[in-house]
Amino acid sequence: MKRRLIAVLVVWSVLSVPLIAAEEAAKLLGDEGDGSRANPIHLIPLFAENDKGEKGERIDPNAEHAMPFSTRWTCGECHSYGTISRGWHFNAVGGNAPAGRPGEPWLYFNSKLGVQLPLSYRAWPGMHRPEQVGLTPPEFTKIFGRHMPGGGPGEVTPTDIEEIARQYISGKLEVDCLACHNAHPGQDQGSPTGYAIQVTKMNFRWAAAASSEFADVTGSVADAGPTYDPFDPDAEEPKAPRVTYDKRAFDAKGNVLMQIVREAPKQRCYFCHSDLYCVEDGEKPEKWRADEDVHMAAGLTCVDCHRNGLGHNIVRGYDGEAADSVNPLATATSCRGCHLGDENGTRATGGRLGAPVPKHKGIPAVHFERLTCTACHSGPWPGDEPVLAKTSRAHRLGTINVNKEVRVLPHILAPVFARQAVTDANSSPKIGPHKLVWPAYWGTLDDKAAVVPVALATVTKVVGAVLKDVAIPATGDWSELKEEQVAQALKALDGAGQKKPVYVTGGMLYELNDDGTVAGRQNHPAAEPYMWPIAHNVRPAAQSLGVGKCTVCHSTNSPFFFGKVAVDSPIVSVSKLTRTQYEFQQVPYGRTWAFAMSFVFRPWFKVIAIGSVAVIAIVLLLYGLKALGAIARVLAEQE
């Protein structure tokens, strides 16, 4: 028996080697370029997915019951979908990809419930996973998929029976190749019939088709009945999704000419990666008043630096990324990689893409050991206080019915100059500009005094009932909460079976006292703000910090060290608190202040030093000449 088992294993392993090799070698037509920089023409047939999740029928625009085309089976004809779907934009859920440097979270917020919670499937410090607050992948996708290029949580097969049934109707939110690679101006991510709204309606299967310029989708899975079968041509459900193709887009053979480009145009990236800083106090920010990133102004596009191959492991572009990424360009395509190159390498690699090699005249070299490039070059120019920032993903920018008020939630503050989280042992913790969000959520204390968030459904039901009379401001700002209301909500949570309920907000942790009142305490790790580095927009060198004057940062009132960072909270008393920038840099106040103060005397230092040098030089010259005169005199006397 044992021998037979061993024989089977040996045969299996021998046979499996060529099988695995064959699978790896089976590259599809579009998996590998031939070296041409010309754009490949995509005159292709479209395919749908069938009810078994396999490749379905070819799309016929004249069919009465047309199905939406599937990117998996259409684009996947020539491009290995499985490989692509493990790329950076899609691999958060699996948990196998290194999280790397902390990035922008998904922000769940509810003004009335006092919730502003950073969520992500990536294991960044201070982050909560969606399932911790009771969000399943389909629910998470419904809320945040509007600004995802599909894949990831959108393709997770649920375990709950009801969700499985629901996914049969909605389909999976496949990787939407068009979201990035469609250069057609009609690519529709945010209009009333575009990608974002389709995701919100749970029309996951229809989202990619709806975003394309040659298909129109009506109806909603959310409005369709639970027994609706999208694959049944005889199903009568007037509210169900329907797709109508533009017949003119199909040629005589039924192929569609898609304007697919290898390098994603910047406008495609901007849909999910735009930001807006409310720099004008009290005024609504206007995009036209802000400059674009200097690299864009110079003619580059996002993907010139943020590059990827078939695996879509796109370069994020931070120092030390090579330790987290399999992308071979991770080191070379960063600020240093392009502007300086490998300074210790055997060949010159700096100046890539025409990047000027910085001279940094007058900047002591210690700055480059302690600061990121972005500290001086990126984000908005720091003022007395960080300003409110909006991002596409947090504020649904580019979609319909966006609240354009300055104070609309979620509240992201920027720039906060903080010490960066170190992602690998080779990187030193440098100070750089960050966006900051103060988490606010309801939770419970576990045995180790750690805070576990309460499921959002429970919060909505229990806390929502307590705070039902709280008014929601039209500006989208926090609804003001009082500590008594927090106490009532905590009691309600306690009554609902949530042991040791707490409320985290503005760096404070509120818990119930024995007498039923609330007590707030600071410095609990769960209440710490979540920060992620700012990389863009990069300002021109002439607008970098320190240009012309050291005192931009080294003065006792400089925003860099002594700017006040507002504490954000629905509780009024907490929202009046502030922190100071140097606290986030983990530097002591006294030393920082004294060093800043010393710059008052720096001009005197220079004058005294140069004056002293002049006097010493004159003395040396005078006595040198005297010595020369003595020698000359001796020589003259001899004659």
Binding site: I363, R591, F595, I616, Y623
Partner: protein, 216 residues
């Protein structure tokens, strides 16, 4: 590299001085107590000093204090802690530096005359010149006062070193030099600083010896 060379150079200087002290006894008494009195007399202001003499001595004392502070704050982090000067250490260093530069300038003016080389300092030089050039250079047969010559040479060398020492750091404060040159000037400041400290130690040692011998 710098750390290794610095430690070696400082040790070599101290050992060399110790050997010299033992091998070539100073003129006059070799009593230890009396030796310390001579060391202290370098720091004390003599009652018969004129106003200028008092000023010179005060400036000298201030320069010694600044020198000690600068040497400790400059070399301690590098040689002992293995890191760059930073924080309060750097602030103290930068505070005492201009005072020291000013003292050096005053000492240059007030001490230069007394540190001129004369024909009596180096009779061997006169003899060498006479032999090589066959000119009628006056030269006597007295033995060379090496300590005095070295003492004066050290003074002039210190003055000369103070120029790159000060300028290397002051120039880097202006918007003139790029990163590479910033590294270069910083390295120059360190290396020149090391040589300056060694020369200053030798200068002080010779001053003590000459004072014990009553030569200055």
């Amino acid at each position: 590299m710098f750390e290794t060379v610095s430690i070696f150079a400082f040790l070599a200087t101290i050992v060399g001085i110790a050997i010299h002290w033992v091998a070539t006894p100073a003129e006059g008494s070799r009593c230890v107590i009396r030796g310390w009195v001579h060391v202290l007399s370098l720091l004390l202001i003599e009652q018969k000093s004129s106003l200028l003499g008092v000023l010179k001595k005060l400036v000298y004392l201030l320069a010694v204090v600044c020198f000690l502070v600068l040497a400790i704050t400059g070399f301690y982090p590098v040689l002992v802690q293995g890191k760059h000067i930073t924080g309060f250490g750097m602030m103290i260093h930068a505070t005492f530096a201009p005072i020291f530069a000013l003292c050096m300038a005053i000492l240059a003016i007030t001490w230069a005359g007394g540190n001129r080389f004369t024909a009596e300092d180096c009779p061997w030089m006169s003899r060498l010149l006479r032999r090589v050039t066959r000119l009628h250079v006056a030269a006597d047969d007295r033995p060379c006062r090496c300590s005095l010559v070295l003492y004066k040479a050290a003074f002039w060398f210190l003055l000369f070193l103070s120029l790159p020492l000060i300028l290397s750091i002051v120039i880097s404060m202006f918007h003139l030099l790029g990163t590479d040159w910033q590294h270069t000037t910083l390295a120059m400041h360190r290396w020149v600083g090391m040589v300056f400290v060694i020369v200053a130690i030798i200068h002080t040692y010779l001053a003590i010896r000459l004072r014990m011998a009553g030569a200055i």
